[in-house]
Amino acid sequence: MDDLLRDFLTETNENLGTLDTELVKLEQNPNDPALVSSIFRIMHTIKGTCGFLGLPRLEKVAHAGENVLGKIRDKELVADSNAVTLILESIDRIKSLLSVLEQTEAEPEGEDGDLIARLNEFAAGKPAGAAPVAAPAAAVPLQALAPTPSAEPEPDEHGFVPVPAHKTAAVADAIASQKAAMPAPVTPPPAPVAAAPKPPVPAAQASKPPAAKAESPAAAAESAVAASSIRVNVDVLENLMTMVSELVLTRNQLLQILRSQKDSEFAAPLQRLNHVTSELQEGVMKTRMQPIGNAWSKLPRLIRDLSHELGKKIDLQMHGQETELDRQVLELIKDPLTHLVRNCADHGLEPPDERKAAGKPETGKVILNAFHEGGHIIIEIKDDGRGLNIDKIKQKALQNGIATDAELAAMPDQQVAQFIFAAGFSTAAQVTSVSGRGVGMDVVRTNIEKIGGTVELKFQRGKGTAFVIKIPLTLAIVSALIVECSGERFAIPQISVLELVRGQANSDTTIERVNDAPFLRLRNRLLPLVSLHDTLRLGETRKQEEDKSFIVVTQVGNYTFGIMVDRVFDTEEIVVKPVAPILRDVPMFSGNTILGDGSVIMILDPNGIAAGSGASAATMSENQAAQAAAEGSAREAERIALLVFRAGGNAPKAVPLSLIARLEETDAGQIEYSDGKPVLQYRGKLMPLVTIDASYPIRSEGRQPILVFADRNRNMGLLVDEIVDIVEERLAIEMNNARPGMVGSAIISGKATDVIDTAHYLSQAFGDWFGKADAPFGGVASRSLLLVDDSPFFRNLLQPILQVAGYDVTTAETAAQALGLCEAGREFDVIVSDIEMPGMSGFDFAEALRRSERFRETPILALSSHTHPADIERARRVGFTDFIPKLDREGLLASLSELGARSAAE
C-alpha cells in the first residue's frame, strides 16, 4: 500500500470517528453553528481527498452527505433525528467502503444509488426521507456495533498514534522517521446523549447566527493543535521504550555495584546518570500516554444507537477523559469498557415507563469516570438503573451448579452478584440483539486481570450498578516483591500483594493444617495457603520448615490467599519481558526480567498460582464479603505484637515480637563459659548469652528458655525465666527513669510491664553490634540527626541505634517541637520523622521544612508502619527522601549510610 493511501486511511478514519461523536452532539444542539461547520468541513475534506485520490464511489457518497450538511449549515434544513440518522448511515457506508479499500487497495464494486438518492431527496427538503430511512437505520448500527475490528479500522492499526509535540520534544533526536505534521484528532468533550428526537427548532431562532462567523475561531483552534503535534510511528515509540527499559536495567545494575563499594569516585556521575535515566524513562513513558477519551470516543454513538434500539432514554456522562494511560493498556481495555457500558445501558437501565413507576426521571444515566490514584487509573462505569437481579443470578448459579441452595441462602447479595463474573455465566434469558455477543463478564474480568488490573462490582437494588476498574498506568515497568523459595528467587507483582505475614509456631500466626492443606488464621478469617515449593515442584532442593515461612497475602479478583515462601527480599522496579515461546504453556509465570544484580528472575502470575492451587471461580468470589467485614477491624488502630516474659523479679517484661528471631529452650547444663561470659553452642556457632541484669542468677540445671535475637549470621540469646504470652496491644509507654536496659513501663494485658530495650542487650553481647559495617563515618565528625516520633518507645529504641551508628541525635516529641528546633536555627544533617503523629503529621512537617530555604536539601527520612504504596507515594511527593517501615532497623541504617556516602561524594 502506498504511503499516500495509508495516510488517507489513517486520517479519514480519525475524521470519521470525530464525525460520529459530533453528529450525536449535533442532534442535541441542532442550532450550534460551530458544530455544524466543523462537521461540514470534515465531510468536505473526505470528499475532497477521495476526489484527489480517484475514489469515485466514496466521493459520491461523501458528496451527497455533504449536500445535506450544507443545507443544515445554511439553515435550510434542521438537524433532527432523521437527518442525523441519514448522515450516520452515509458515514457507515463510507466506513465499510474504507475497510474494503484497506484490504484490497481498491474500491469495492457496487452502487450506492439508493442511499445517494435518499440523501439528495432529503437535501431537496422532501420529508419523505424519514420513512425509507427507518429500516436501514436500524440495521446499520447493529452491524457497526458488532466487535469486528475489521469493519471499523482503528487509526492504530496503521501503526500511528498522535503524540503531542511537547512530549516528544525531549526525544526528538532519536526519532528519525517523523512524519509531516498533521492535525491530531480532537477529542470531543463529554456529550450527553438523549434518545428522544428534539422538536424542530423554530426557523426564526435558527437563522440568527451567521455560520461564516463561527468558522474562523474554530479553524484557528485546529491549526494550533496541528502545530503542536507530530505523527510518530508506534514502532519507533515501542523501540524507544525497549531501549529505555534496557537503560533502566543497566542503571540498576550500576547502582547495585556502587552500593557494594564505599567511596567510589563513580558515585556522583552515577547519581546524575540515575536522575537522567529516570527522567528519560518518564519522558518516553509519556509519549506512550494517550487520553482515555480516545477509548471512549465511540461510546456516544453506541449509546445513541442503543437508546433507539431499546426504546430507552439514556444520558451518557463522561468525566475525566483527559486522564492519560499507556496506549497498550488503552487498547486492551477498549473492549471490556465497551462491553460494560453496553451492559449498563441494556441490562442496568429500565425502560422509561418502569423508571417512571419507580419514581425516577425517565432518562437513565450511564456515567463514566476516570481518574488517577496512586500509580493506577480508576475507571468507574455507573448506571442509575435497577441494580442486579439477585434472584435471577441465584437461579442461574444453581443451574450451572456453581453453588448449592444452602450456600446461596447464606450468601449476602453482594457476594451472589460476583457470580456474574463466573465463566459461562451468561444471563441468557435477557439476551437482546445488543448484549450477549459471546463476550461474557468473565471475559471482561479476564482481560482486565491480564493487564494486572482488577474489576469490582457494587450495586444497590433499584438504585444502580457500578463497576470499578483499577488498572496500572503502564505494563512495561512494574513494582515487584522479590521472594525466595527453596533457593530460587521469584518476583511477585506488587499490585496483587496485600500484606506480608511471618508464620510462627505457637503464636497468632501459626500455620495450621486440615488434611495437609495449610491455613492461617488471619484476623479471624481462615486464609488458604499455597506452598510455592509444592506448586512449582521445587522438589529437589531441601524444603525449609514451612511453619516458619513468610506468607505473601495475595489477592486475585476477590480471592485472597497466602503464598508460602522462605524469604522476602526487597521490592524492585522491574521491566517485564515475555517468556520464551517454549514456556508459554506454564501458567505460573507472567514473564521474566533481569534484576539489578544481572540475574534472570521469573515473575509469578498470582492468577496462575491461584488456579493451579485448585481455586475455582466460585471459591474465588466466595470469601469476599467476609473479607470486607474483616477489613473494618483490620484498619483499626495500629497494634504491635509483644512477647511477654518473666526474667528476674515478678514484674512481667515485654519486647516487640518483630525484634525476636526465635524462641529456644535448652538444657541449662549446656551453657558454657568463655572468658567468664556465658555462651551456648547454637547452630554450629557460639552464641553469647546475656542476662536481664548483672544480678540475674544463671541456672545450672533444668530447662532454660532463651530469646534469640539475630542479625545477619550472628545470634545473641537473652536468658529469661519463662515465656508468658504473645499479645497484640497498643503500646503506650509510660516512662520511668529508665534503668539501663529498660525502655519504660506499659500496661500490657492489664498488668504493668517493663518493656526492655533490645539495643542495650545487643550492644552488651557485641560491642559493635550496631556499629560494624554500617558505620562508614569513622574519622568523619559525627553528623547531627533529628529524630521526630511521638512514641517514647520508638524514640528510645532508635536513639541508641543511631548513636552507635555515629550520629549526634536530637529527639523531638512532636512535629511542632521539631519545627521549632529547626526554626530556632539548629542545623541537622539528616532528619528522621514518624508519619502518624498527633497534631502535625509527618507529611505536613516535611512540607513545612521543604518550604524553608535552609532545609530544602536536607535529607528527610519517613518512618511509618503504614507502607501502603499510596503513603509512600505521598511521602515522596511532600519531599521525603526515603520511606522506611518502622522497626526495619537495617533499612534505616542502610538508607542513612547511603545518604552519608552520597553527601560525601558530592
Binding site: 520464551a580 514456556l583 526480567t593 534472570v600 528472575i601
Partner: protein, 169 residues
C-alpha cells in the same frame, strides 16, 4: 560475566568473520564426545559457563534462563534433548547462543570447537539406523577425517513442546 570471546580458530580467524561466508560453514561443538555442527550464520554468540536461573515446571530440556547483555536467553540442555546422561558436575560447559524466530536460545554443550568449511560431497543424509531421537534433530552427517559430524537442526532441536508440554502442565 564471563562472555568469552568467540573461540579462535586454527588459522587465526574467528567466527564473526564468517558472517558473510558460505552456507556450509559450521560451528562445531561436542556433546558426549560426539561432534555436532550448526550453520555459522545462525550462531549469535558463544559463551562460557553462565549463571542460569532455573525455571520450575518448564520442560526438562529447558535448563533455565540467562542474561546475555540485557536480553533473556532460554538455555536448552542439549544432552537432555538428545536423551544422554547428565554432564559430570565438575566439567565446564559452553553455551552456543542461536536466534530462532527472534528469540535467543543458548544450547548448552560440552565444548565448542573450530569453525569448519565443509564440502558438499562429504554430506550424507540421515542413516536409517540413527536413533529416532537423534534423527529428529539431525539434518544429516558430514564425513570428516577420522570422525563424523552431525548437523544440528536448530528449529527442530527447539521444537519439543508438543510432546513434553503435557508433562510440565
Amino acid at each position: 560475566m564471563s562472555n568469552l570471546p568467540v573461540p579462535s580458530m586454527t588459522d587465526g580467524t574467528d567466527v564473526a568473520k564468517f558472517g558473510g561466508g558460505a552456507a556450509n560453514d559450521f560451528v562445531t561443538m561436542t556433546v558426549a564426545d560426539q561432534l555436532f555442527g550448526i550453520p555459522v550464520l545462525t550462531v549469535q554468540d558463544v559463551l562460557g559457563p553462565q549463571r542460569i536461573t532455573r525455571i520450575p515446571l518448564a520442560p526438562p530440556e529447558v535448563a533455565g534462563a540467562l542474561n546475555l547483555r540485557g536480553r533473556i536467553v532460554t538455555a536448552i540442555d542439549v544432552r537432555r534433548r538428545l536423551g544422554l546422561a547428565k554432564r559430570e558436575t565438575d566439567k565446564v560447559n559452553m553455551n552456543v547462543v542461536v536466534d530462532h524466530k527472534g528469540e535467543l536460545y543458548a544450547l548448552i554443550v560440552d565444548n565448542v570447537g573450530e569453525v569448519l568449511s565443509l564440502q558438499a560431497d562429504a554430506y550424507e543424509r540421515n542413516p536409517a539406523t540413527l536413533d529416532p531421537r537423534w534423527r529428529e534433530v539431525s539434518g544429516g552427517i558430514y564425513r570428516l577425517k577420522g570422525k563424523l559430524l552431525v548437523v544440528l537442526e536448530v528449529a527442530r532441536l527447539l521444537d519439543f513442546k508438543p510432546k513434553r508440554g503435557a508433562e510440565a502442565a
